[in-house]
Symmetry: C2
């Protein structure tokens, strides 16, 4: 999915905009290179995105509407419908089905990151054919199934991998902020998307957690190569965490497949247990940051050495900016690494610290 | 696939019996609970298995025949055809196709571990329907797709996981030998098969390297639970190795999904580079045994502590038994762990050392 210059996005976020479930919607609003012309959420219709999420340049004045029909009546008519959330329980509600089919019949491309694929649904396939529209199922594993080859990086490239102390901790956002910051200071930078939100933002990538075990590292390897062809700074979006009993294998496939020049560790102070596994007891307890740094460097070392080069803190649990800044300073002191919250305070200082560090080490 | 009491096996090993490619054939001959009545390899027809592989109780007198027709004419008529190797290049040769279809039409079940599934082939599906036969595609991922839950082990169970310093180093064989040995000394033991050879031997399991990343640990978790329901000693067959840039993610999913009480490290002295990746340079160099022991214990620790409790050496590169025994003694001294070659010298001493060690630690 290469974004066309005329792609204009409408995001379906029915009943959930501004809440936890709207992570994809936020990501697309904040980072997509194409404009978002409207968000659909009938429970918040009449307001604008900034009135719900707070002020940001990309949020200001974007209307929240009640239906696809309303979105289609806007002066900037959308060309792509992005499903900004998964339906609760996994099954598409009837009202969504009707809207998706209508969008396709009217020629809008539809992008989704659901476990069940829209393009396998005869109704949607027929509607797409009728409207000349495309369906993008971003969770569908790629045709390209390859075992890792151990390829070296292209010369002069800098590959970073975001890792973290949990899932849903901000690795995608940190990847995007670092790429934006790199471009701000004049570098050619690209994010290698490995999850559906990143793919919706960037228009390419692979939902790596759907790839079969034998091909995880191989897929990460060719995705990274693709990133190296596109830019000098390649920021591979991480997934899961190495201490997570359910998802660690995906994380390790990213480390050994990308073989990054450096890892950026994302950590949320104040979070004690793995997200969505809070009731599992000790096995779901998040390991200390320092232990996680050592573990990542040790496991990378078994294939190709890589250091944690920076800590990206997610300070969202601490509303007070002074507290957030104190946490950042304490983390930098404790680890001896550059630390910041790039999502909250901008990515340029952290990116520049990483760049300086990697030039010294190289 | 629950083996019936009347299952009699014929193994297809055309052109490859006794060579590297016949790992599945050897595994089934040596460990299957059902008898192997013949091996098909026209290049070695007229000899017996022991004349090719050397003397073993399970090998003695098993005829090697040139065709399925010959096998069907034996007094002990086979009921199941097992494809004991993958066709070179991935595509089934015409002669194999004809033989498989013929077997199905004559009512023989066919078990295969190919990446492309026999049961998806209309000719084979029709032949199976005609003969009332079943096709078992052991690489097909299971219907059951589950994220790991972090469940505790059932009380009183002992879960071992075989790990290793490479793939194709003997983890399946060591798992089988330890289970046989455990039974020999009066324990209830089961192997949890995670690859197609183990599945062909045991008649159940999942080819774990075909499972999508998000479900690797979850699948290992329920397979282990299944093992715990069947026996007291549960030996989970390992895959890949933690220092392998292509396959480490599968290995880690096994460690964090099985959360074993102990790990048995399989290592082949004399092997310097990862199997089938010998030309890749330093990245494919096998890490030192001691470093691998530390790495496995450290990565297990991030979820649930587990120690390497024994070293199973694969001494097959050293024909001289005295040399093999010296290597074993040296390894035991260097690691402070019980060491042996259970495949070569029998599994009872190693199993008993493990059992004693785990009782002390518990």
């Amino acid at each position: 999915m290469v974004p066309s210059p005329e792609r204009r996005i409408v995001i379906l976020s029915e009943g959930a905009f501004g809440e936890d479930a709207s992570k994809t919607a936020r990501g697309v609003l904040r980072y997509a290179s194409d404009p978002v012309v409207a968000v659909i959420d009938s429970t918040k219709a009449g307001r604008t995105v900034d009135q719900v999420l707070g002020h940001r340049p990309r949020y200001d004045g974007v209307p929240i509407v009640a239906s696809l029909a309303e979105a289609m009546a806007l002066p900037e008519r959308p060309t792509t419908l992005i499903l900004g959330l998964a339906p609760a329980g996994g099954k598409l509600p009837e009202s969504w089905r009707a809207m998706i089919a209508e969008a396709l019949r009217r020629g809008l491309d539809v992008a989704a990151g659901l476990h069940s694929f829209l393009s396998d649904d005869p109704e949607f396939a027929a509607a797409a054919a009728q409207g000349g529209a495309k369906i993008y199922d971003f969770r569908r594993p790629p045709e390209r199934m390859e075992v890792a080859t151990g390829r070296p990086h292209l010369p002069g490239k800098h590959v970073l991998l975001t890792v973290g102390t949990d899932c849903a901790v901000g690795k995608m956002g940190v990847s995007m902020e670092l790429a934006l910051a790199a471009r701000d200071v004049g570098e050619r930078a690209v994010v290698v998307p490995t999850g559906q939100t990143g793919m919706m933002v960037e228009g390419w990538g692979v939902t790596i957690d759907r790839v079969a075990g034998d091909f995880i590292a191989g897929t990460v390897e060719w995705l990274t190569e693709e990133g190296e062809k596109r830019a000098d700074w390649v920021i591979v979006e991480g997934q899961g965490s190495l201490d997570h009993f359910a998802y660690s294998s995906v994380t390790l496939g990213l480390i050994h497949g990308a073989r990054p020049h450096g890892m950026v560790m994302v950590h949320q102070p104040g979070r004690a247990m793995h997200h969505a596994f809070e009731t599992r007891g000790d096995i779901a307890r998040i390991k200390p940051l320092q232990a996680m740094i050592r573990a990542h460097e040790a496991i990378a070392d078994l294939v190709e050495p890589s250091k944690v080069v920076a800590i990206a803190l997610n300070t969202s649990l601490y509303e007070d900016e002074e507290v957030a800044k104190r946490l950042i300073a304490e983390t930098a002191a404790a680890t001896g690494l550059p630390a910041d919250d790039p999502y909250r305070f901008g990515g340029v200082p952290l990116f520049e610290a990483i760049r300086a560090r990697m030039k010294t080490e190289a």
